[in-house]
Symmetry: C2
Subunit: 345 residues, 2 copies
Amino acid sequence: MLPVLADSVRLADDGVHILDRRDYPFSREWVRCRTVEEVAAAIEEMVTQSSGPYFATLWAMVLAAREAAAVDPAAARTELDRAGARLMATRRTNNHLRKAVHAVLCAVDSVGSVTGDELVAAALAGARAGDERYRARSRALGEYTAELLPERGSVLTHCWADLYLVEVVLAAQRTGKRLAFVCTETRPYLQGARLTADTLAELGVDTTLITDGMGAAILASGDVHTLITAGDRVTMDGHVVNKVGTLGLAIAAHTFDVPFHAMVQAPDRQAPTAADVPFEDRPGDEVLHTLGRRTASDRVRGRYLAFDITPPRFVTSVVTDRGAFHPEKLADYYADDHAGEEQDQ
Amino acid sequence: MLPVLADSVRLADDGVHILDRRDYPFSREWVRCRTVEEVAAAIEEMVTQSSGPYFATLWAMVLAAREAAAVDPAAARTELDRAGARLMATRRTNNHLRKAVHAVLCAVDSVGSVTGDELVAAALAGARAGDERYRARSRALGEYTAELLPERGSVLTHCWADLYLVEVVLAAQRTGKRLAFVCTETRPYLQGARLTADTLAELGVDTTLITDGMGAAILASGDVHTLITAGDRVTMDGHVVNKVGTLGLAIAAHTFDVPFHAMVQAPDRQAPTAADVPFEDRPGDEVLHTLGRRTASDRVRGRYLAFDITPPRFVTSVVTDRGAFHPEKLADYYADDHAGEEQDQ
């Protein structure tokens, strides 16, 4: 029942298998990564993206445990740290990778000094728990987001919000809401044209594709009623860091009185404000190509700002696994937490 | 000295030759149109765009005169009207085509009832005058626009402003301004990535390409100092109708205090407000492809809003061949006109 992309990173005996999103849905090739390093390289090369690197990192940490199974517990733990650092360095703007590494390391540490099969079993248990927790939190977030959508209407989305979007659609369908979606193509990787458009169709949703430049026009037209996107990271003071293009859509939505809901499992306590978020620089050359073909003049250079920062004044709400919050009230997310049981570390 | 695209529609003995902009600069093929109908079809099929259809229409009206040279003056005049109507119907949002047809018909009417070589000569004189006038007005507009740009700085532009942009650059170079340009790729036809980027490079301008979704981020960054675009049409109350994407950039520029200057030879007295502008619907299928390749999921439909409307509150100035005007003071453009000598009919 789940769409293809919701189960597109898998652990196998010979490594981690990752569905290649770079040419999906035109081709459906799986990249087989036998080592932590191969998983890290696949993430850097955009074989998978959005939620994909989170799952890839969970399973890569199990590979790391397998690789370290033969050495003593202290050396193994050092190897796991090294693997985690390598994986976290692949893409820095989203903080899912930190959480994936943390999930596995905590599980390993909780069983004391182990090696061999016990180490692998502990890592696997941690990765599975991380997988389940991510899916459960996405489901909760999807349900809270669906509550904010109209009974009937059209929703604009940008890039590919992956499990968050899938769960929004499933929740809306469960509650009988009839929504159409408009998605932006999201250059240069065309995540919207390929991943979002195809998955929405897979889910039976009426879907229309526009180019990235058409967002303001369609927001001005009255033809869409809500804007929703993921947030790669949301700072405690309500800045939404997400795929470049989100800012322009959010400003236009604000201008034309269309609500904008940003989805993130939790605001990031390690990022009080946007200055605390590391921004990934991607090669400018990626802007000059489309699916491998040069589509710009040979005489120009490209610049790839991969993310932008939407200030809280353009955000209607930040929807988390604990409900929707005003962007200036994100501290409330943690209001009921007690020391030691914080979910979002 | 002029860049290739500034001389890319030509009259020849066998018809009108039009440089095909759909794959330029990757290929440099000329489409040979032997009849008015072939020119009209070429405009509809986007063989040329921006200023191109204006020149193509001028020369197509000469073809119409050649086609009508054998019949009596009244029948010939009817044929010219019919040709003009066909050409004006090709693309309706920009009103250059109306002016091109008008330029030739006025020249024909001014010589009285003629046929044969006299008819063709009159049409040719009208077309040549229209060509010269368009270039002279673009030059004036370019000079006024260049005056508004900083001595040193970076200018963001969208789509392909054709002769207006060329004249801005030449004027800036004449006066010693050192400008870098940032251009958006402008999906789905990639006019920015191909035509603007290549022509700016041809003119020796430092040029960086971004995707359409990056405009707001770069405007927020402080890295660009001015936004300039053409206006396909500017209404008397200051609405700028232009290539879709302009609205989003203009709103973002306004938000981040970057001035936006829209270039048009003259505001349109036939369009008191945006409701008076006919909007062209282009096939949604064009959004699903990039340079002929399908780049979207097979399961989605596209929607192509080709133009958007930027309200005057987001426009710093409208720059015309008579100087820059506040968008709410466009009536001043015509303040010194006397009946019978209006330039912009």
